[in-house]
Symmetry: D2
Subunit: 365 residues, 4 copies
Amino acid sequence: MAHADAQNARIPVAVLGATGTIGQRLVALLATHPWFELVRVAASERNVGRPYAEAVRWHIGSDVPDAARALPIMPLEAGPDLPVRVAFSALPAAEAERCEPAFARAGVYVFSNASAYRMQPDVPLIVPEINPAHLAALATQRAARSWPGALVTNPNCSAIGLTLALAPLARFGLRRVLVTTMQSASGAGYPGVPSLDLIDNVVPYIDGEEGKLESESRKILGAWTGDAFEDAPVRLSAQCTRVPVREGHLECVSVELEQRVEADEMVAAWADFAGEPQRLRLPSAPLHPVIYRDELDRPQPVLDRLAGDGMTVTVGRLRPCGVLDYKFVCLSHNTIRGAAGAALLNAELAYARGLLGAENRSAPA
Amino acid sequence: MAHADAQNARIPVAVLGATGTIGQRLVALLATHPWFELVRVAASERNVGRPYAEAVRWHIGSDVPDAARALPIMPLEAGPDLPVRVAFSALPAAEAERCEPAFARAGVYVFSNASAYRMQPDVPLIVPEINPAHLAALATQRAARSWPGALVTNPNCSAIGLTLALAPLARFGLRRVLVTTMQSASGAGYPGVPSLDLIDNVVPYIDGEEGKLESESRKILGAWTGDAFEDAPVRLSAQCTRVPVREGHLECVSVELEQRVEADEMVAAWADFAGEPQRLRLPSAPLHPVIYRDELDRPQPVLDRLAGDGMTVTVGRLRPCGVLDYKFVCLSHNTIRGAAGAALLNAELAYARGLLGAENRSAPA
Amino acid sequence: MAHADAQNARIPVAVLGATGTIGQRLVALLATHPWFELVRVAASERNVGRPYAEAVRWHIGSDVPDAARALPIMPLEAGPDLPVRVAFSALPAAEAERCEPAFARAGVYVFSNASAYRMQPDVPLIVPEINPAHLAALATQRAARSWPGALVTNPNCSAIGLTLALAPLARFGLRRVLVTTMQSASGAGYPGVPSLDLIDNVVPYIDGEEGKLESESRKILGAWTGDAFEDAPVRLSAQCTRVPVREGHLECVSVELEQRVEADEMVAAWADFAGEPQRLRLPSAPLHPVIYRDELDRPQPVLDRLAGDGMTVTVGRLRPCGVLDYKFVCLSHNTIRGAAGAALLNAELAYARGLLGAENRSAPA
Amino acid sequence: MAHADAQNARIPVAVLGATGTIGQRLVALLATHPWFELVRVAASERNVGRPYAEAVRWHIGSDVPDAARALPIMPLEAGPDLPVRVAFSALPAAEAERCEPAFARAGVYVFSNASAYRMQPDVPLIVPEINPAHLAALATQRAARSWPGALVTNPNCSAIGLTLALAPLARFGLRRVLVTTMQSASGAGYPGVPSLDLIDNVVPYIDGEEGKLESESRKILGAWTGDAFEDAPVRLSAQCTRVPVREGHLECVSVELEQRVEADEMVAAWADFAGEPQRLRLPSAPLHPVIYRDELDRPQPVLDRLAGDGMTVTVGRLRPCGVLDYKFVCLSHNTIRGAAGAALLNAELAYARGLLGAENRSAPA
């Protein structure tokens, strides 16, 4: 593939919901992206017309990227003169539900981090290393909905980390999975969780999260049969908590497998795991989607969340479980691999597969 | 029982390891105790001779109790002229291993929070609401070891909370239990966990903790057969983590039961649970050893750890588990119910049962 | 004074803004108050009619007091049939501005924690140990405004701690004061400060706070001349920051005094300081409004905020200042001494002075 | 200067105290350094002989740099066969006092972050943008001590941030400075501050820190007269506190100036500030040693500490002070600009000035 000169003619893209926490991450990741060029930022009405740098309350260190500073906030409308055929959606669920189909109808390929359509029967829920084949559902989707564009979703932040840790074990037969999450504050956006809830405290409840983690994981690990998604037959149960951490979801997992395996086979399965993003050398793909650390006390959010520039899931502490077969701990960066980077990687996969339409495909090559 | 006038002639007691975090809690709880009077504080060599208020770096709010301020730190030795027949041990495991038998040999009833002897075949590991009958092992212990005194232990802080949440469910048959703990910094004592490990971080490892939680829980929920302890047949698996919380261990639990029960039967089992401490109205016994809260987001450390003055375990979020039968969350105050208050309640139980010897028994009545 | 039998006929009181952080503190403090009985809770429209225990999201540990649980939320209106002549206001400034005069007009003595009227020329801004004489302004206020009731305010949380630390030094002549505050999250109410602003962070800005701290302190330390408040001639400059602490405002202070004094004279001035609340033994008055601690590293929020049940200011670290004369650190509990307890103590002072009207004055005696 | 091909023959350097927090930062910064090559790591006895990657408990994210992993820990001895003429010292003060002269005596140029010799009359205490002329003292030092090597120190972490914020104002005449610091946990190393001291807490005391901040700042802002250091005549007073932040010291400063200046002149002074590191384009020099931010609530540790890769001090909130002339807030990364990066920049300056000896000077050019 000839991506090297893509710089010369990058694909114009938009970010919907650009002022929120995930929108900011997208803006930051796009600032130096070799294939995509951010040309439009859209957000809710009250900010429309203001330059992005003024409208945003920037949270992710240092400054708004120069290329985005002056972009005027546009309304969340998919008018006929849209300058993009690719949009990343970091909208809240309710707004996503309303806006995303309008963009798809206007010919835009929407890569959405929102939960609104993830479980729809014709909407692929993609983790590119795990289920790239689910993109085949787009043909069905576009036909059924008469969309010139399309809608591709990425999972909830806690489901991405879990499924990337589980997918390499699928060869051993995943039978049952119990997971307790310790999720960071950024997962709730900004203002999000009040500080009085997280100073000297843990909140053992995140609205709707356990259901999403369970159902999305089964869809991701499942199959596209040609006309429907079939859940993986794994039984999953989650307890989700919020801890005083800025970024990084830690998950304590117990698994029951169909086959008897040794611990070192599992470690090898993680270490060897790779998928299309690695084969296609997608710009946001980490060298290793999963790494296993031997130290007794890893992974830890503050030490491991930026592994692979935030795109690698770190696994550790594999040991036998007295109730199921094995237990281990995994960690993923919830706003990079778990959100903004996930949407971006999905778009890169779609582009590399030639799914973004002829106009775009020719552009960067 | 005629404890009311106990004030007049309280039983003299010692605290071993009085300057540590748990030692301080013991000193604080004893300051206003109706039956026991703190007359001796012992600690490691370097502090011997200094007044307690000078030797201690007080951590638990406000000030060292007046009655303890001037007590001189004594060495950890059980000389012949000991002024006490009851001692509370808050020693580190290695020191406990060395010192506690010497005190028992000198005729002292040692109520220990240390892990050194908890799993010994003749040492009772007591949670008074759960297994007061295990005190019967003391006869065996004292005979076998020729001790005029005795050694009674209380469990690890994470095991106390878990077993108090599980014991009321024992009637339904406990088959399998998976637990992930989020433990507070005070559980590691002082200086304990460095702040660089807990600012913006969670550490998914506590040395030796998972093994203790699993094995101690089985002993506590098990039986004393007359000459041995028999573990409860429950299968248990734990993952233990350290979170940025001062006090209060939160535990996410999944259970499999032998009987089919409705959630409200479980809630009723918790609400109705009481034991000897409640029947005997022991001074440190909470009205309810376990309470169940209906709110979606409880228990939380900062809101619930002081329930029942830190002696009540709070349970919440009971719901079906997709892998085992039910899942729920429980919380206990790790340095009160999980340590200092536990040792104290054990001593109160022993006293009320007349086990502390004639001299003492007559004193406070 | 014969307050002992006040229990029999306590004065009925209301809390305006009862569901907020400070409202909750007031409800908690009133639950066991010997003179006042909470009979009415008022809050914003959306909660009207709901029982207090349902409408409130309780933040301050354990549970809503039993006596308040069933009280229905009433609207913030001062109708003719008000069952109270005393109300505590924990309203936000904008609502306070609108509602408080209406209550005063309806004959209610309003003890307000809101900032809306603090700096009005006829509204006393009281710290009872410092400027009880300012209550004399009420006569002017009631006459000028034709109010059968009255309005008494307490200062901003950071000003109360500072002025209580400064007032004992006033005898040495306060010339210049520089203060940097480290204020807790609870000072911003709930939801207040987002956790992403306080995990691993300090925010060196609190909207409007520096101005309030400077101007209110001068008014409190000043005089009521008979027809106007005269600011104390001290020069004050403040820098206010928000730190990851739940409760307790820490302040680093440098002072320049007119007289040359020794450090021990200043320590003695703090230790000996007392005022009308102590002389009158008001129920919420701490034995010592200010205590000085000798330890090198005190005061600290977690260790000292509950001194005197949260009503005592702790001072420490007095030492020469290379720029002004002396520097020291002080700490106060911002939602007790700095807000709810402050309003309560003001009401107790007014009652003890016979200012609450004949009907009330006779009631509890 | 022809540094471009320095890569080919980098100067071999050692890190003394390589396993500590600052030692780790040095190892990380040296991993990609264009002039210096880390060839030796030294640490205390108990680690000698172990590969660096095993001996270190790595704290600063991701992993030990590959180039350093296998380096064996060497003892802290300056034998005759030392392979380096440049060493960075991150030793604790007591060890530094013992070891550093031995290395200088062995011909090594020691760039030390330790406090042991900072205030010695012949030891330069350098912030390269402020007082590069102080390096002239090395001639005196080497002559007087008969050292073939030399000792150059960098200031305490809190003094570097303050002096970089003050130096641009020196043209207006610095008369008096009051500063309150909010210092991060990493400033105390590892294990450093116990988490029980920083969860929900601030500690208003750091042993020895206030004296260092005051005296070092006067030395840095002062002059080398040719045979002695002369303190700047500014009066300085500091209050130092520890806050629950990982990295980044925030300082609230009030200044009195000899000249009357407008705020925008001060902002311009900061914005225009540059020094030899910028003129010489030293590898670790930030483009701007100081930046001023206009936002009301900046600088903040989590947002601004990595400005200029951690080498830029961020200033904000300039406004008139009611006691002195102006007040403002500044922030610096305490383990980069305040420690490891400071030592490194000092060495770069010395090298660029040709002070590291002929052998070395020729090497990278």
